[in-house]
């Protein structure tokens, strides 16, 4: 039976913490998640607790912001601006492997759907693929320019596996996307969404924005990319949130969706509801929001304000809870039936 198109999520639990939570990974089938933080720590929150709170999971480990958090059945993987990738034993909280994974700041960590591959992206503009079983480096994916067209350093912000794990997409500052075969590690196709990148050549002479989030549709035929519209004043995240949707078979841009005036800033993360009936995107400027999209139209059907810039979130398997983490707060939202 088709699930009704209900996106009536409301904020149910708000947690305050002193750190900025940049990344998260949830234990499947639970309200227990880990998040990587600005104080170099990894925290865990379990909404099964009577009074959920962010508890420090690890002691030492990273020495800078943790921008990537992912897990499989045995390990938690975190990567940060200290360039390190750390493997944590989920049972003991001990670091079992620590390696300098990249030459520059590490922006994201993703585990493949089968749990056997780990992808890391960094401002060295390389995506590295690691075996989660042996820790060995399987491949280096190089398809992004180190410099922007204006001769400034580019940034490789995000990576995302397709639901079947056969493809991996990587996206950079100027909106360039490369889709890779996860067996041969060859590039399959490229897309460009330059509308996510603003370069101001005259007033302020720097840039802002970039392609910050990617998600494949459940059938793997479409890709959603997230960022921000062109900005007049690049000192702020003052433009509307931006989603650009691509047809991966035709390579065409299908639509550009814009948040309202209440949804400004970066789209930091995108997730599809499991059967693809709706999509949720989260992000923000000084504050945050979630946007719900009906992909059949496609159009934004609902916007939910949140008290903090959302850096990442996770939708549970049955599609009735969303766990968000962000600037000094974490918020759980529940679906009202």
């Amino acid at each position: 039976m088709d699930r009704p198109l209900n996106t009536n999520f409301v904020s149910k639990k708000e947690l305050n913490h002193k750190h900025i939570a940049f990344s998260m990974a949830r234990v499947p089938g639970s309200g227990h998640y880990y998040h990587g933080a600005s104080d170099s720590g990894v925290y865990q929150v379990d909404h099964a607790d009577e009074k959920p709170e962010a508890k420090r999971f690890t002691a030492e480990g990273h020495s800078s912001y943790i921008l990537g958090t992912a897990l499989n059945s045995r390990h938690l993987f975190t990567g940060g601006w200290d360039k390190n990738l750390i493997w944590w034993d989920r049972e003991t909280g001990k670091a079992v492997r620590k390696q300098k994974a990249h030459g520059k700041w590490l922006r994201g960590v993703e585990v493949s759907p089968c749990g056997k591959q780990l992808a890391t992206v960094s401002d060295d503009m390389v995506c590295r693929i690691w075996s989660t079983e042996t820790g060995s480096l399987l491949a280096e994916l190089k398809g992004h320019e180190a410099q922007t067209p204006n001769n400034y350093p580019s940034m490789l912000f995000c990576a995302r596996y397709s639901p079947d794990g056969s493809r991996l997409a990587t996206g950079d500052k100027v909106g360039h996307v490369v889709i890779w075969d996860t067996e041969s590690f060859k590039p399959l196709q490229t897309l460009d969404a330059p509308g996510h990148y603003t370069w101001d050549p005259s007033a302020r002479r720097h840039s802002i924005g970039g392609l910050r989030s990617i998600a494949f549709s459940p059938d793997g035929k479409q890709m959603y990319t997230g960022g921000i519209h062109k900005i007049g004043n690049v000192d702020h995240l003052g433009a509307k949130a931006r989603l650009e949707i691509f047809d991966l078979e035709t390579h065409e841009s299908l639509a550009v969706l814009s948040g309202s005036d209440k949804c400004k800033g970066l789209v930091e993360h995108i997730e599809f509801e499991s059967d693809g009936k709706w999509v949720v995107a989260g992000g923000g400027d000084h504050k945050g929001w979630l946007m719900f999209i009906d992909p059949s139209q496609p159009k934004i059907i609902r916007e939910v304000p949140l008290p903090m810039h959302v850096h990442e979130f996770n939708l549970n398997e049955v599609g009735n809870q969303i766990f968000t983490v962000g600037h000094e707060k974490s918020v759980r939202l529940d679906l009202q039936v």
Partner: protein
């Protein structure tokens, strides 16, 4: 200075303004053209002790306010510190941001001031304060740093400009205006705003006049002027002739803006950006005798995405500044050229919800390189989180006085506006002597 340093091809560059005036002590103030009500002779020209060599100043103006935490005063590992690490430098115990690896190897040519508390977190007010060292009075407009340096280090007979300001971005240009104040237009900046075609404004030779005609007209004017002056010795004639010579010289300075003749390895050293190219032009200008050049790099005002902004802009500053230091050193000019980096303020230790840093004038940093500075000196200290100055607090006045001294200008000098003595800095203001050699 070697002859190759003189782009305008005139040996007259070797004649300093002060020595020129020293030989003309009886000449009236009117000789100084547009200096208005200022009696510039009251304390000028006759004090040989003040002559400290042909110093030059390049100010890299970090418009909008660069973050001290992502440059000169990193605080890794604390909530205010941001994501970047610090790195050791060639001065033991001194660390700077990892975004400045090139400068980390050149701190022996640098000196840091980490204790600025300038109290004005507005772009306009902060820029005014940093560029003038004090507030205007209702009836008295103070000259900015460039105008003071132009007056002190410029040459009466110079055929190059005394004060050039590159500000090609539009943001903040109005906040950081150049002003000669009571010194008058003679010491005002030549402002260069067109990012596409940089050249001195309104000095192009008319296309309808050939180069030969242009030179012939100048020769004729000189001939008539000299003949008229024979036996008269009128100061007005000398002033008239000096003005023509100056304009004629300026017209031949076009080549200062053409960096195509710079060796490729020099251009590569600075990098391919507009800021890099303008800094090369600044070096060419000081080499040619321009006493003060400001290269304004806008815009650092990172209220959102501070770390991405600084990831773009600090490596550029690191490359350009280190290249400038190396370039000046290789040319034997570093001891005579003071390079300053500062803006109107720094940025808040507190990181806002957009991962930005806001305006912060309470505890921030500037850097000085070359000139009379003490190599490797680090003055002042902020607390562990960068929220306040805990040692060596100084304000804009002290910074202004320090720059003057580092450029070989006695900060205790006075001008006169009418009968009123006007010191270069407000009474009681002292330079940071710890950073002056």
């Amino acid at each position: 200075m070697t002859p190759s340093h003189n782009f305008c091809g005139s040996h007259e560059h070797d004649l300093s303004r002060r020595s020129f005036l020293g030989g003309l002590s009886a000449v009236g103030a009117g000789l100084l053209g547009t200096s208005g009500a200022v009696n510039t002779f009251a304390a000028d020209g006759l004090n040989a002790a003040l002559k400290k060599g042909n110093k030059r100043v390049i100010l890299l103006w970090l418009a909008g306010g660069a973050s001290q935490l992502e440059t000169w005063d990193p605080k890794p590992g604390v909530p205010t510190g941001g994501p970047f690490a610090d790195i050791p430098t060639d001065i033991p115990g001194v660390h700077i941001s990892e975004l400045m690896p090139k400068m980390a190897k050149r701190m022996k040519h640098s000196c840091l001031i980490r204790s600025l508390n300038t109290k004005d977190g507005g772009h306009g007010g902060g820029a005014d304060l940093m560029l003038r060292g004090r507030r205007d009075e209702p009836t008295l407009k103070y000259p900015d740093l460039g105008a003071v340096v132009a007056k002190e280090l410029g040459r009466m007979d110079s055929q190059v400009p005394d004060y050039v300001n590159f500000y090609t971005s539009t943001e903040g240009r109005g906040s950081a205006k150049t002003t000669p104040g009571f010194l008058g237009a003679r010491y005002g900046a030549i402002n260069l705003h067109d990012g596409k075609k940089l050249s001195l404004p309104n000095i192009e030779k008319l296309e309808s006049i050939t180069k030969g005609d242009h030179e012939a007209r100048a020769d004729l004017r000189n001939f008539l002027s000299s003949r008229f002056d024979q036996g008269r010795g009128l100061s007005a004639v000398k002033s008239h002739a000096a003005a023509y010579a100056r304009v004629h010289g300026l017209m031949s300075c076009e080549k200062l803006f053409d960096i195509s003749d710079e060796p490729q390895h020099i251009r590569d050293m600075y990098g391919p950006t507009q800021f890099a190219e303008q800094t090369i032009m600044a070096r060419r200008m000081v080499e040619a005798g321009v006493p003060f050049v400001r290269v304004s790099r806008a815009w650092w005002d990172s209220h959102g995405q501070n770390f991405e902004t600084h990831l773009e802009m600090v490596p550029e500053l690191d490359r350009v500044l280190s290249a400038l230091i190396d370039d000046l050193k290789q040319r034997g000019m570093l001891e005579d050229t003071l390079v300053v980096t500062m803006g109107e303020f720094g940025r808040t230790p507190k990181i806002n919800g957009s991962l930005g840093r806001d305006h912060f004038a309470t505890a921030w940093s500037a850097s000085l390189h070359g000139g009379r500075t003490v190599p490797g000196a680090v003055y002042g200290k902020t607390d562990a989180h960068g929220n306040r100055v805990v040692e060596g607090e100084i304000g804009a006045g002290e910074m202004f006085a320090t720059i003057l001294e580092a450029a070989g200008i006695d900060h205790t000098r006075e001008y006169h506006v009418g009968a009123r003595p006007i010191p270069l800095v407000n009474p009681g203001i002292k330079p940071v002597t710890e950073v002056i050699a």
